[in-house]
């Protein structure tokens, strides 16, 4: 029942025709993952901005993750700038992971370790 509610919420939130670019069916919208990492790249591009970060697992292996955001056009309304993230920044990210298990996801928010600034993806 809980799963159904979450799925329905995702459908209602992302419904046609409010969708601009693609559906979010590839993400596990019921699951939120929080991880710490180091930014390796920040792409201030359309139709989506992207951040890449290295996350070191418990086994010591470093994995590069790609997290999708909305567009710069929407991010600027939430206080983002193209300079908000830069390689080397230590961050804590929360995201919906891909269902296929690949190292990608849809960003929910990022917290910068130095400034404690929180930027939301909405």
């Amino acid at each position: 029942m809980r799963l159904k509610s979450a799925a329905m919420l995702a459908l209602a939130t992302l419904a046609v025709p409010a969708l601009a670019h693609h559906s979010f069916a590839m993400f596990d919208m019921k699951k939120e993952v929080t991880a710490q990492g180091v930014v390796t790249d920040f792409r201030w591009t359309n139709p989506h901005s992207w951040m890449h970060l290295d996350v070191t697992g418990k086994d010591g292996a470093k994995v590069n993750w790609a997290l999708e955001m909305t567009s710069p056009n929407n991010l600027v309304l939430g206080g983002w700038r193209r300079s908000s993230l830069k390689p080397g920044d230590k961050v804590t990210v929360t995201y919906h992971p891909l269902l296929n298990g690949k190292s990608g996801g849809s960003l929910i928010q990022v917290v910068l370790a130095d400034s404690k600034t929180t930027l939301e993806n909405k």
Binding site: V16, P17, S23, M26, N46, P47, N64, W65, S71, N73
Partner: protein, 270 residues
């Protein structure tokens, strides 16, 4: 190419204007103003008439979640079957329903009318003599709405945004649109139209709040609807920001396969 432009429904009228141009000793003194179908070819232009139009300046942000809930459409035939299929999927809680509604060849493919009005980005309006132009920030889409008195074409080629003509009723812009593609999305969750649909929009400021724009839609479709269907969109004004560039192909990492599944590529790469 200019040649492509000439292949419009008004070709005979344009041909006449061109003939006049070719026979005229001076291009700047041609007498094409008699051609009411191509007012841009007229000798004079009345910018002063724009002073009587309402103040729609600024960018308009969709008030998602605030729009009145539309009535249940009275669909027919394959359009009802499609709607029923989607409703069944939604009621089952199947997260794949969204994929089955949103079938596009590319994630950068625009939605067409009326989806161009309701993407989660702002729109703006430009008034020029004989025309209202709407620009949607997402994908930088343009709607050309002709207020120059031209008729609707009798047999338009179906397109994403169709052909729109309009007139002003006081401070309300009344837009009629035809020439839309069969299967285009009329409303949420499987409400689609045929290529015979006629859409009417009444666009005006909210009398109680001039920073809210109201778009009242009515759809008539002899193939898809047994009764007109209505919806309303609301927008809030932002006077202090401009539209931004949006090039969808800049970094599109979301290919769609032939089954409608959306992927996310270039993960885990530095």
């Amino acid at each position: 190419m200019r040649k492509t432009n000439i292949k419009r429904p008004y070709r005979p009228a344009l041909r006449g204007a061109l003939a006049m141009l070719l026979c005229s000793p001076a291009w700047g003194q041609q007498e094409a103003e008699a051609d009411t179908v191509w007012p841009a070819a007229g000798k004079t232009v009345d910018y002063g008439a724009l002073q009587g139009l309402p103040d729609w300046r600024g960018i308009w942000l969709p008030m998602m979640g605030k729009n009145p809930k539309p009535e249940i459409p009275r669909l027919m035939g394959k359009y009802k079957a499609h709607y029923d299929e989607i409703q069944t999927l939604i009621n089952s809680g199947d997260p794949e329903a969204q994929l089955k509604v949103e079938r596009r060849a590319s994630a950068c493919e625009p939605p067409g009318m009326p989806g161009i009005m309701t993407q989660p980005y702002d729109i703006e309006f430009l008034f020029t003599p004989g025309r209202v132009t709407m620009v949607q920030e997402a994908y930088m889409q343009v709607r050309r709405i002709y207020t120059d008195g031209r008729p609707l074409p009798a047999d338009p080629d179906p397109t994403y945004n169709g052909v729109s003509i309009a007139h002003w009723e006081g401070q309300t812009l009344v837009v009629t649109t035809t020439g839309l593609r069969d299967g285009g999305v009329m409303g949420r969750w499987g409400i689609t139209y045929s290529d015979k649909v006629t859409m009417t929009e009444r666009i005006h400021l909210d009398p109680a709040n001039p920073d809210i724009l109201v778009v009242e839609n009515r759809f008539n479709d002899p193939l898809a609807l047994s009764a007109p269907w209505h919806s309303t969109y609301l927008f809030s004004r932002n006077r202090s920001q401009d539209q931004l560039e949006f090039i969808c192909a800049q970094n599109d990492r979301n290919p769609i396969d032939d089954k409608g599944n959306v992927d996310l590529v270039d993960t885990g790469q530095k």
